[in-house]
């Protein structure tokens, strides 16, 4: 058994708050030290916002869980300062193979676009992601960032008092109370905070069970994603084989609805299934086995005054497409800068409602995509199975059918079309992919990358255009980044940011999303766009 599961990373220690005569007050309390909670805490604390993280446990989560981290997540991790260890440890893959019945119907190459610092995806066990986040939290703590990580702290009560939140926390030493300006609930799909507040979580349950197994084997399977529809070793169902670091392979086997979960989890049931899949002569050992069912659902609102939900507590999707942890990271990316501005009194509280608008839009996109994948992988009616099989049969011989094969539409960052923070597009001929609301695509620039120069603050990106060094509006500073299309010999900067326009000025948010763009510098328009992007127009 892998030792990483046994080491307490943030063991319980008694805190002075537990002996305070009146409840101690904190700016932000994050509930849950999973990937989303830790990312939120790191993002806030490294920007000087005081944050306490509470988790009832003190270790990384057990088993591989989320294993596929998308480029946008890695870019966010870069901003938080841990992109490199993730990418160094992770497994990169580009080739996918699709099998139907006994034959391979086709393979594909993700063919990543050039000029990006980070790959399209890495495979990495969630426990490594969490481990690196904890290490990063420790590193910024050592530099003086106001982050306090408390293991063995279980939230027992939460009450929103309008201008603050009161929490009661159970520990081995008994309960204690604290208060906070804001609480971010990152406590997972079964969110106790959501239950305590009596909030709904409705959606669609998929009647299916999946066996997931982490298998350690010295096999010569290539570093590829293999997906089977209706294979001989799992008739009528699907299967997935994916490589993770340390010689660990992730196997997902669809089992159907009417099964005995406890029986199916037993090694004497699991091992014959895996032997049928891998072949009798492959030596392997089981590291982790789990059975899961899933739902596609979300909360009606993610912000409930001073309690804000992020990640699986707010929305849940099927695993197809790796849209769980990846979308949770986009939640915190969206929330952290807004919360910072509101707490510092530089933006109205209404700015937090744009978190709701933008991330509900993102959650709906993820739910739509993952529901469609699920409907393709596990057809729910006779006619949908007939069409699904027809697509697979045709895909073996005709390229046209391959885009219809849906074994998961891998997570892409959301473009916040229609966001109340966007200023209407004012760049004639500008590329659609960088319209207001879009996450900035990366570009290689000399020895560095564009995204490393963006983020944490508002940036005025001037390309072939004159603009002043910076400006300030209502206490919000904007820094200029001046480039010309000569800064990138490949033409990617022009292709991604100019399109048919000869020059452009972009206003870019602290989360690297485009707020507005124009053909030239226009101080009045930029100030108006900045007010809009900080929620001044939302009141």
């Amino acid at each position: 058994m892998n030792k990483i599961f046994e080491v307490p990373l943030y063991p319980y220690t008694r805190h002075a708050d537990q002996d305070a005569a009146t409840p101690a007050h904190h700016r932000v309390v994050v509930v849950g030290a999973g990937p989303v909670g830790l990312a939120a805490a790191i993002d806030l604390a490294r920007q000087g916002v005081e944050v306490v993280v509470l988790d009832e446990n003190d270790k990384v989560s057990f088993g591989s869980r989320a294993i596929c981290f998308a480029k946008r997540t890695l870019e966010i991790a870069d901003r938080l300062g841990l992109g490199t260890p993730l990418v160094d440890k992770g497994v990169q893959w580009n080739i996918g193979k699709v099998f139907f019945d006994e034959r391979k119907v086709y393979d594909f190459n993700l063919l990543p676009e050039e000029g990006h610092k980070r790959p399209a995806f890495i495979n990495l066990q969630q426990y490594y992601f969490e481990d690196y986040l904890v290490q990063r939290a420790r590193a910024i703590q050592a530099e003086g960032a106001p982050l306090d990580l408390r293991g063995g702290n279980k939230v027992a009560r939460v009450a929103d008092h309008g201008d603050h939140v009161a929490l009661t926390i159970d520990t081995v030493d008994g309960p204690y109370s604290i208060t906070a300006d804001y609480v971010i609930a990152c406590d997972g799909a079964a969110s106790p905070i959501r239950s305590m507040m009596g909030l709904d979580f409705v959606g669609r349950v998929f009647e299916d069970n999946f066996l997931i197994a982490d298998v350690i084997m010295e096999a010569d399977f290539p570093t590829e994603r293999w997906f089977w529809f209706d294979p001989p070793f799992n008739r009528g169902q699907s299967a997935l084989l994916h490589k993770q670091p340390d010689g660990v392979w992730r196997i997902d086997l669809q089992l159907g609805w009417d099964i005995d979960k406890e029986q199916e989890k037993k090694p004497e049931k699991v091992i014959p299934r895996l032997k049928a899949m891998l072949g009798d002569d492959v030596e392997f050992s089981l590291e982790w086995v789990s059975i899961y069912t899933f739902q596609c659902r979300r909360m009606e609102k993610f912000r409930h005054n001073r309690v804000i939900f992020a990640g699986d507590s707010a929305h849940q999707v099927s695993p197809f497409g790796a849209r769980g942890a990846n979308s949770g990271l986009q939640d915190t990316d969206n929330l952290a800068w807004k919360l910072k501005l509101v707490l510092e009194g530089r933006a109205p509280e209404a700015l937090l409602d744009s978190y709701d608008a933008e991330r509900i839009f993102g959650a709906d996109e993820n739910i739509l995509n993952s529901s469609r994948s699920t409907d393709f992988i596990t057809p729910k009616s006779e006619i949908s199975r007939i069409f699904r099989n027809a697509v697979l049969d045709l895909s073996e011989h005709h390229a046209f059918a391959r885009p219809l094969v849906n074994s998961g539409r891998l997570s892409m960052p959301c473009t916040y079309d229609g966001s109340p923070l966007n200023t209407p597009d004012a760049l004639p001929g500008g590329p659609a992919r960088t319209r207001p609301g879009s996450p900035c695509p990366d570009v290689a620039l000399g020895n560095g990358f564009l995204l490393d120069s963006l983020g944490d603050r508002f940036t005025l990106l001037a390309i072939n255009a004159d603009a002043p060094d910076g400006l300030s509006e209502d206490g919000i500073a904007v820094t200029r980044l001046s480039l010309t299309d000569k800064d990138d010999a490949t033409g990617a900067l022009a292709a991604r940011y100019l399109g048919d326009a000869p020059a452009a000025v972009y206003l870019i948010r602290p989360d690297q999303h485009v707020a507005a763009r124009w053909p030239t510098y226009d101080a009045v328009a930029i100030r108006a766009a900045l007010r809009r992007a900080t929620g001044q127009e939302m009141q």
């Binding site: 007939i386 069409f387 099989n389 046209f400 059918a401």
Partner: protein, 67 residues
């Protein structure tokens, strides 16, 4: 000018085309026929390509007497 769904006669030699369709199904089981129909629909959808026209076709198929 975007294309609209054609609901007026557009097949050259309709009797021959119809006979071709039936001939393709000859000797097939119900399951094989269903699979062939599904493949045929997908191939024709790709030929049409435009979502708007396909939506008109789906609507016409759902309500055969017309709008």
């Amino acid at each position: 000018m975007p294309t609209d769904l054609i609901l007026t006669p557009n097949m050259d030699r309709p009797d021959d085309i119809y006979a071709d369709l039936l001939a393709a199904h000859e000797g097939l089981s119900k399951a094989e026929s269903d699979a062939l129909n599904a493949r045929l629909i997908l191939i024709l959808m790709n030929q049409i390509g435009e979502r708007r026209v396909l939506a008109q076709a789906l609507a016409a198929a759902r309500v055969p007497e017309g709008s």
